[in-house]
Amino acid sequence: MSVRALLQSRWLPALAVAAIVVLLPLLFPSMYYYRVAALVFIFALAVVGLNLLMGFAGQVSLGHAGFLGIGAYAVAIGPAHFGLPSWLCLLAGAAISGAVAFMVGRPILRLKGHYLAVATLGFGLLVAIVLTNEAGWTGGPDGMNVPTLALFGWRARGSGTWYWIAGLTFVVGFLLARNLMESPTGRALQAIHDSEIAACVLGIDVASKKLTIFIISAVYASVAGSYLALFNGLVTPDVAGFLRSIELVAMVVLGGMGSIFGSLVGAVVLVVLPQGLTIFHEYEQALLGLIVMVFMIFLRRGIVPSLAASFAGWRK
């Protein structure tokens, strides 16, 4: 394939992301950087899913960390209480998240208005409550240990290993999301976002499409949650907490609603920042709230689309 064809192909964005994943370690002076980058990719994966929901279906999930929690605790509870292998629990967690999304979303997405925001707020809080209270299963507020992921004798341990696992999974998640956008479903979703009534009149089952996206976004978050737990070796209930949900929303808003690549940018900013600024912790909530507000008021498109637009304007 010629260079020109490559630059114009639909694979370009995914290849660019893959290139980033492959080449980034060349810049890493120590293992610590692998760890931060792994966390970035893990969160970016969850953010891609949430972005599909917010940027394309135009819905908000204010409890998305609840799905993170389901995925995270699945790989903790499964091995500890049922003796199941971690990889199976990861899949089970994803399936459970999808099922829960179906149950919560189906009645609510049929309705007009933004009841999903409230329902997911409640859902997220409920998951956190359950995880904190059912100490017999979940270890309560102190959480529980998570055994290392093992596949055919190989153990997934260490920042280096998880960098590659998270990075490659992110590339796959990125590609799937982009595929979706260039498909009949993706066109239907963008149509729904621009004019729900016109989409409906053209035969699109709006509620069903929104539900599909909600389920997909839940699965993305669940996988990310499982990775988080397996990587850290430990889970606590605040993985599903309200603040975590707001972090995810802030990452979407920062990077750009509707920009899959923006999901990565948002994750980079909000994962790297706390690592860099220790004072961030005190001000984290206030800053997150401020970011969401400011971006929604002044920079609604987010960083990536705004940059892209001004770049395009520049060239003219």
Partner: protein, 262 residues
Amino acid sequence: MTMLEAERLAITFGGVRAIDGVNISIASGQVFSIIGPNGSGKTTLLNLVSGIYTPHDGSIRLAGTTVTGLAPDQLARRGLSRTFQNLQIFSRMTALENVMVGRHRHERTGILADLLHLPSVKRQNKATAEAARAALARVGLADAAFRPAGSLAYGALKRLEIARALASEPTLLLLDEPAAGCNPVETQELDQVIRAVVKDGVTVVLVEHDMRLVMNISDRVHVLARGRTLAEGTPQEVRANAEVIEAYLGAHGLREAAHALD
């Protein structure tokens, strides 16, 4: 064959009977126009027929099947399509993509295939794009295909909506004031498009203010005033109806209608 039948249709908004006991019968292959002063309920009637509102009274039959209370997407799958008076364009998509959405009810890929971009999706995208291009060509917008919809002129956007509605291959097409804001040249082009569409076997319901267009193109004209039927008949009959002239056409409309005869 009767394409659309509505009996005793009625709907009330906060105490106002927007449509009050309207009966309509539209034969297949006709151009059926609905006219009336502003506020007479024309768009409300269209919204009732296209499922956006559910009538509080009365029934609607599409090609013989009762469809009262069905949602717009269900009606779309039964061959109904429409345009909007206030333009509901997908502004973030290109003109071609807008029309491709119109193909939705003919697309057959599932979510898994979409996620994995299987060959079936590639084929579907190609087929959809081709059909969309053809629809754009029918309304004269072939070279605007890749321009962002938001950048097109008003008249072009009206035609884009028609192309999008046509892409779904409807048997019944509802046009809500397609000539609004169009200059005489554009209205003439619109006239041609509608005639071509009817020749392909589509039944057209036209809500319009432009009397010239209505009188030239309609097989039957239905006059609404204050939510009720004032008169119905051929364009000539309606034009000559004293009540209609009095309530609606007035001196200005009378002149226009007289011109249309010439």
